[in-house]
């Protein structure tokens, strides 16, 4: 069976004012099989979103191959892009900006269908109801506007829109980053269910390694536009081999005070001058030493504050 998505040697450049183009992504390659979730993880500026845009045809690569189901997805005509849209859809991060506030939910949900042509009103009614039911929203949502829905509900609507044409590959660009943790959990559960039902492939873009570990099959770690490490998601999270991945893993706080205390000690040790950590330190904005002294100004104020406190309120 051919790969659902195959990316090879991808390179994306942005024009900059001073001649030299800025290389946002280079030498990136990976594949996604049906039913598989591949995560792109990295910090801001790592190029993860740019890769998603290139796959979606929103950014034109400078070099490389992007094939969906064995067919190139670069520089398509409008008609070819429409045909591809049946297989390839997207869920964006910001649930507020990803739905047009001036259109009803029904209109939003049927947009990909309308683009395909052969859109029939009688069937659309049924489709909209089916989609809303599938993502767990009430049917009367169809007539309402996006402003009436919470962030989590909007994300469900965005998922329903992506599903409307029955795609096989969905690019999820930080689909849960703007959501509360309990909402994030339900949206991830929904995505997982849909994947099982339809053996969808997900290109899952995120900055959160914890989500990667729980949701993705494989992960690619990006730094400054290049893949620095890739492999099985659980393995990369538990035993990262590249210093940058190690820095990312070490820096992510874990919701357990005992484990986190041990991790923090490790993190401090790492930071305290291990040569390996230089790669990680590059990512931070400086190389701090421990706090050694309180500024004289603060010491003075401190004592005067204490005086205030002891002599009663000001």
């Amino acid at each position: 069976m051919p790969d659902l998505l195959r990316v090879e040697d991808l390179r994306v450049e942005y024009r900059s004012r001073r001649g030299e183009p800025f290389v946002a992504v280079q030498e990136v390659g990976f594949t996604i099989a049906p039913g598989e979730t591949v995560a792109l993880v990295g910090e801001s500026g790592s190029g993860k979103t740019t890769i998603g845009k290139a796959v979606l045809g929103l950014e034109r690569p400078a070099a490389g191959t992007i094939e969906v189901d064995g067919v190139s997805a670069i520089g398509l005509s409008a008609g070819r892009r429409r045909r591809l849209a049946r297989d390839l859809q997207v869920v964006f991060q910001d649930p507020y900006s990803s739905l047009n506030p001036a259109l009803t939910i029904a209109r939003t949900l049927t947009e990909p269908l309308r683009a395909q042509g052969g859109f029939s009103r009688s069937r659309a009614d049924e489709d909209v109801r089916g989609l809303l039911a599938r993502v767990g929203l009430p049917v009367d949502a169809a007539e309402r506007y996006p402003a009436h829905f919470s962030g989590g509900q909007r994300q469900r609507i965005a998922i329903a829109r992506a599903l409307s044409v029955g795609p096989r590959l969905v690019v999820c660009d930080e689909p849960t980053s703007a959501l509360d943790v309990s909402t994030q959990r339900t949206v991830l559960d929904l995505l997982a269910e849909l994947q099982r039902e339809r053996s969808l492939g997900y290109l899952f873009i995120t900055h959160d390694l914890a989500v990667v570990r729980e949701f993705a099959d494989r992960v690619l770690v990006l730094k400054e536009g290049r893949i620095v490490e890739s492999g099985d998601a659980a393995q990369v999270c538990e035993r990262p081999s590249h210093p940058y991945t190690q820095a990312l893993v070490a820096a992510a706080p874990v919701p357990d005070p005992v484990i986190q205390r041990a991790r923090r000690t490790q993190w401090l040790e790492r930071r305290r001058g291990s040569a390996q950590a230089t790669a990680a330190a590059d990512a931070m904005d400086h190389d701090p030493g421990p706090v050694t002294r309180v500024p004289a100004a603060m010491r003075e104020k401190e004592t005067s504050c204490n005086r205030n406190a002891s002599s009663g309120p000001p």
Partner: protein, 596 residues
């Protein structure tokens, strides 16, 4: 596709769903319907002038000149004994026709060019923009006069010219809105789906432009009417005995001393029409915008909250005893509502917790839990729409809610510091870091000279472990990375060495490696200075990393508070357990047990 999954029965009429709301609301929206009806009456009366007007507008009756309103002449007669009402009705035809001509030209020229410039950008945009700028630099009345001197007495030519000149402004507005909409994610989603560009412009861009467009058109209609009547007043474009509103004003002006009333009908109809245009524009804008937005019960948005800045509302605080058990800061029974009267919603209810010196307390919750509102109350930074219904916030035994604004200002900054989620927003983009830190340092210690202020600023930046502090002092906020900006805002919060630091999601906008650095910085500063920290966050990992105790909030209430070892190992409340289990983790976490 998914039809087989359909379970619901209610029918959704897709054809009309889009428009029905807007129309139904428009009909029942008095601010729109009243001026619209008035305008409609005026327009109909002018259109039907041949049927309605009691006299020939040109018929002179020299026996009845300069008469006041009577049963024969409802609005009186002019210097030649012509019926004023009839002249206004016929005159309105030319005046209103001029407005329509200008509007049509404005729309036909301005809308497509603005859309093209905004949507496609590039060289087309640059070419259009250059022309627009040139046109906007030319005074339109001069051009219209020039046109009228060539095409003499043609009001059509004048109004077409005016429409073309006016379209420059419209092009700019349409272009700017289009550029904004083009960047929206829903347009990207449409492009991914292969939606045709025409459809994207029609369904996504046009509705968003509708509001500003209608406001522009209504303003333009007012100006066009003023210009049309102005030209007629000056005698351009109208052959003299023919009636026109501007002409009527001119005739009335000549008789101002003898018959001042004559100015009332002509001036009045122009004023009423212009006011109607203005009201229709405003009402339509309100209507389109409110259709898309939820009816919020006067609750401020998160960003409103974070900006804060208004006076504290006086509290009917319940006098609880002053025993705070040695707490540095003690919040007790705090209840806060937004909005007034029946529409008031309680956003914080009976919240109590304490902060001891040297302690880090996490205020944890999801959106809408009231954690930010609670934190801002401590600083006295609630928006004006908030009312403190009950409770107290005691700092060393003094109730901050009972302080006057002047007293509160002394507490803020010098005893309580704030670091916020968006460091970039808390720094003024117009001033260097050195300027901003210096201002804060001087505010708290007026006796310092320039050198001393600079030395203290440097010291503060070193304290927050900034690399190259001397260089950073000279930088503007946009020249800083997110982590550096957050360090600067921490330095600013520490300038007066506060006893309490309130950190409102200070690491949410940062990358995870930078977040670890900032958390470590806050921890080390806290340990050195012994201040108390209230850390507002939604992230349980951050709580586990930094806090000694945590207060879990949900829908404005405190669900549970405990030291973090207890809270994470044996959460007492179902909500806390739910939060914990929903939080993804990088490592496997041992089973938690419910506390007895």
């Amino acid at each position: 596709m998914t039809a087989e999954l359909a379970t619901a029965t209610s029918s959704v009429d897709l054809r009309t769903a889009d428009r029905r709301h807007l129309l139904r609301r428009a009909v029942t929206f008095p601010p729109l319907m009243i001026p619209l009806s008035v305008l409609l009456v005026i327009v109909l009366a002018c259109v039907l002038a041949p049927l309605l007007s009691p006299y020939d507008p040109l018929a002179q009756d020299l026996l009845h000149v300069k008469e006041l309103p009577s049963a024969l002449h409802w609005l009186g007669t002019d210097a030649l004994g012509r019926d004023v009402l009839s002249r206004l009705l016929f005159g309105g035809q030319t005046s209103l026709l001029g407005v329509v001509q200008a509007l049509v030209v404005l729309l036909v020229v301005g809308l497509p060019l603005g859309l093209v410039a905004g949507y496609f950008g590039g060289i087309v945009d640059r070419a259009i923009s250059v022309v627009v700028e040139i046109v906007m630099a030319i005074p339109s009345i001069v051009v219209i006069m020039a046109v009228l001197s060539v095409v003499s007495r043609s009001m059509l030519a004048a109004m077409v010219t005016f429409g073309i000149l006016g379209s420059a402004g419209l092009i700019r507005i349409v272009r700017a809105t289009t550029i904004a909409v083009r960047g929206e994610l829903y347009v990207s989603a449409a492009r991914v789906s292969g939606v045709r560009q025409g459809s994207i412009v029609f369904f996504h861009v046009l509705p968003r432009i509708a509001g500003p467009l209608i406001v522009q058109m209504s303003i333009f209609a007012s100006i066009a009417l003023a210009v049309q009547t102005g030209l007629a007043y000056l005698g351009f474009g109208i052959i003299v005995p023919a009636p026109s509103w501007g002409g009527s004003v001119a005739e009335a002006a000549q008789l101002l001393a003898a018959n001042p009333f004559l100015l009332v009908p002509s001036g009045g109809i122009i004023a009423i029409t212009i006011v109607c245009f203005a009201f229709i524009g405003d009402a339509f804008r309100d209507l389109t915008v409110s259709t898309w937005s939820a009816s919020s019960g006067g609750q401020p948005s998160r960003s409103d909250l974070r900006r804060g800045g208004s006076r504290l509302v006086a509290a009917e605080a319940a006098q609880s005893g002053g025993d705070d058990g040695g707490a540095l800061l003690s919040v007790s029974g705090l209840t806060i509502a937004f909005g007034e009267g029946d529409r008031a919603t309680t956003v914080v209810e009976d919240v109590s917790f304490q902060l001891r010196r040297g302690e880090v307390v996490g205020l944890v919750g999801e959106s809408g839990s009231g954690k930010t509102v609670t934190a801002l109350t401590i600083l006295g930074l609630l928006p004006a729409s908030a009312t403190i219904r009950a409770g107290s916030v005691r700092l060393d035994g003094v109730d901050l809610l009972r302080l006057r604004e002047r007293e509160l200002r002394q507490v803020r900054g010098s005893r309580i510091g704030l670091i916020s989620q968006e460091p970039m927003l808390s720094l003024d983009p117009a001033f260097t870091v050195g300027n901003q830190l210096g201002e804060i340092i001087r505010r708290h210690d007026r006796g310092l000279d320039r050198r001393q202020v600079r030395a203290r600023a440097l010291e503060l930046l070193e304290f927050v472990q900034m690399r190259n502090p001397a260089d950073v002092l000279r930088r503007f906020p946009h020249e800083l990375s997110g982590g550096m900006a957050q360090r600067c805002s921490i330095a600013a919060a520490l300038a007066a060495s506060p006893d309490v630091l309130i950190a409102d999601e200070p690491t949410t906008a940062l990358d995870v490696t930078v977040q670890a650095e900032i958390l470590e910085l806050i921890r080390s500063i806290q340990q050195r200075t012994g201040m108390g920290v209230i850390f507002v966050t939604h992230n349980l990992g951050v709580v586990a990393d930094l806090c000694d105790r945590a207060v879990v909030m949900q829908r404005g209430r405190v669900v549970e508070q405990a030291d973090i070892l207890t809270l994470f190992a044996a959460p007492a409340e179902p909500y806390t357990r739910q939060l914990l289990s929903a939080t993804p983790s990088l490592v496997e976490i041992p089973e938690r047990t419910a506390r007895a």
